[in-house]
């Protein structure tokens, strides 16, 4: 697929959704009120028969009278539609959910109950809304999704009652694309060699930027505004200020999404990586830089560097399907040169757990890319798991944890040996401060010449 922004887009393969089970059509059935009244009448009649006390029929008579008055003709099933105010939003933004229940005939009561998803908060609107004697009812809620992903934010359970019968219908809106909310940060991390394109970073070459770069003797054609009077007087000949060129940068964000698709640790590391990638992409795209993304994890997916707001949304959409459980080892040679230009600064978010991800990092570094690795694993294995084993063998449990720590230290040391800084991302730190120690970034390693 060709787009104006990048000439090639990685194969965005989506796992086929499982076939939805054929939902049985909702049917009318006795309402709890009908059941309660009938049960009470039955109990009273049984008491009358068993005790031989005929006056106990008086206990059942009002309930039977009310049951007799309830209409028995079943109306057609009502239609329930659920709509969202938008198809996409960011984390923390509010989305309006509107459920409409309509029936050809007026119903005694319509109850619409909202069941928010696991990471969704109900902001306004009563969770249960009741409409009396209506043939069409519209219930509105405002919800706030709290986690990125593609999922329906809530389900609506509609209950329509007429006479002694009721029907229950569960309806869900179309999936909502919730983009990760990018944290505010400044794009101060740039590669040593910048593009020959106008941007906002200070380049090495002299140009028409705003940063002071040096002094040189005046030459014909220099503007008088650049004349440095103090230096000119001191040296006895006119000197002018030189300014650094303002250049743009390319940034490729890489996410190591290998590992289990389920689990708290996997979700936490991926969540951190997605938020970090969104923050970096937003920061660089805001200042006219180009940003791209490569997702390692089963199928290799990438998005070549491009600029503009549209690129951010394309990156965010790719992030939504970052995890793709597979045992395939990615082949980085498949990534075209346009998607990973030489000399591009690559920031990798990785938990450093999967050897395939480590192999990809090593390969990239040997190909000459300046790499920065942000470790997204914040938690250690709990020392008391399993509890029974720890209770019986406390020494071995502690030893296992120490070995795990040594293994991680060895991995970090190996990466540092390749010239790849590995940064930890503590829970209370912003990504901007995490990346601060590597400013300026490591110089690009010259690509080995193959003989």
């Amino acid at each position: 697929m060709r787009t104006p922004f990048n000439r090639r887009t990685g194969p965005v393969s989506r796992p086929a959704p499982p076939p939805a089970p054929a939902a049985a059509p909702p049917r009318w059935h006795p309402a709890p009120r009908t059941r309660n009244l009938a049960t009470a009448a039955l109990l009273a009649l049984l008491a009358a028969i068993l005790t031989g006390h005929a006056a106990l029929v008086l206990l059942a008579a009002p309930a039977l009278g009310a049951l007799a008055l309830m209409p028995r003709r079943q109306p057609p099933e009502p239609a329930v539609t659920v709509a969202l105010s938008g198809a996409r939003c960011f984390e923390g933004e509010e989305v309006t959910v509107t459920a409409t229940v309509s029936s050809p005939r007026p119903l005694d009561e319509i109850v619409a109950e909202l069941a928010p998803g696991p990471h969704v908060t109900l902001v306004s609107g009563a969770a249960t809304q009741v409409f009396v004697q209506a043939s069409r009812a519209t219930a509105t809620w405002v919800v706030r999704p709290g986690r990125w992903g593609r999922y329906p934010p809530a389900a609506v359970l509609a209950r329509a009652g007429l006479g002694g019968a009721q029907v229950l219908i569960r309806a869900e809106p179309d999936p909502l694309e919730v983009f990760p909310q990018p944290a505010r940060m400044r794009p101060r991390l740039v590669p040593a060699e910048l593009l020959r394109r106008i941007g906002e970073h200070t380049g090495r070459a002299a140009g028409a930027g705003v940063e002071f770069a040096g002094l040189r003797p005046y030459q014909p054609g220099d503007t008088l505004r650049d004349v440095n009077r103090a230096v000119s007087i001191r040296r006895g000949q006119p000197h002018v200020n030189q300014r650094a060129a303002a250049r743009a940068a390319d940034l490729v964000i890489m996410i190591d999404a290998f590992g289990q698709a389920q689990g708290a640790v996997a979700a936490a590391t991926l969540d951190l990586a997605v938020h970090g990638a969104a923050a970096l992409a937003a920061a660089y795209l805001r200042v006219s830089d180009r940003a791209g993304i490569v997702v390692l994890g089963g199928a290799l997916r990438w998005l070549g560097p491009a600029h503009g707001t549209r690129q951010f949304y394309r990156i965010a959409e790719l992030l939504l399907q970052a995890r793709y459980d597979s045992w395939v080892t990615p082949d980085l040679d498949r990534i075209p040169r346009t998607a990973l230009p030489p000399g591009t600064l690559v920031v990798v978010f990785s938990p450093l757990l999967d050897p395939r991800g480590l192999a990809a990092l090593t390969d990239l570094r040997r190909r000459g890319f300046p790499l920065i690795v942000v470790d997204t694993l914040r938690d250690e294995p709990p020392p008391a798991s399993p509890a029974a084993f720890t209770a019986r063998h406390p020494a071995e449990a502690g030893l296992a944890l120490r070995l795990w720590r040594l293994d991680r230290a060895a991995t970090r040391s190996a990466l540092r040996g390749l010239g790849v800084p590995v940064l930890s991302w503590p829970a209370d730190a912003e990504l901007d401060s995490v990346l601060a120690p590597v400013r300026p970034p490591p110089a690009a390693r010259p690509r080995p010449v193959r003989s």
């Binding site: 006795p30 709890p32 029929v57 009002p62 809304q129």
Partner: protein, 184 residues
Amino acid sequence: MNPPALRGRPALRGRISLRGRLSLRGRPRILAALAVVLGLLTVAWPLPWAPAWTYPVAGLGAVTVLAAAVLRWPHPVLAVAAAIISCAAATAGVAVLAAEGLFILGYLLAADAPRGLAVPGPWLRRQAPLLLAGLIAAGAVLAMDAALAMDAVDLAASAWITLAGLAAATAAYLIALPSRRRPP
């Protein structure tokens, strides 16, 4: 297919706003209080004519009334069962039993009030025909009692008749109310 997103706030027919209303577990206080009062009245009404051993049963019924109101326990019929046991053991007259039947009806209707109901007026008006029907039925049985002297009828004269009555009542109940369907 879902319709396109609605713009603005649509006009709602029959919509009842809940904002600004105090509620007890999502139900207006007046309906919750009505359910509790009617439930306790249902349980306590036959006690003056009932033997002492029915008091614990009535206590359990009162507990279920409170549980149904506060914890939204969806089994108000248990309190009704306790009241029927008390009535079966009591020596109350037909007027007392007729009033008890109306209390049972009122309690079951009030306990079934929707949880998200904000203004109880329209819903209460919808219950008036059912209460009227119950009143008419109770009046009809009272009239029949006055005409036929129902207490003189010996329902347990034959074990077979008793058995047939039980079977007929149970079969009618099961046929009228098929198995409970789970919510989708």
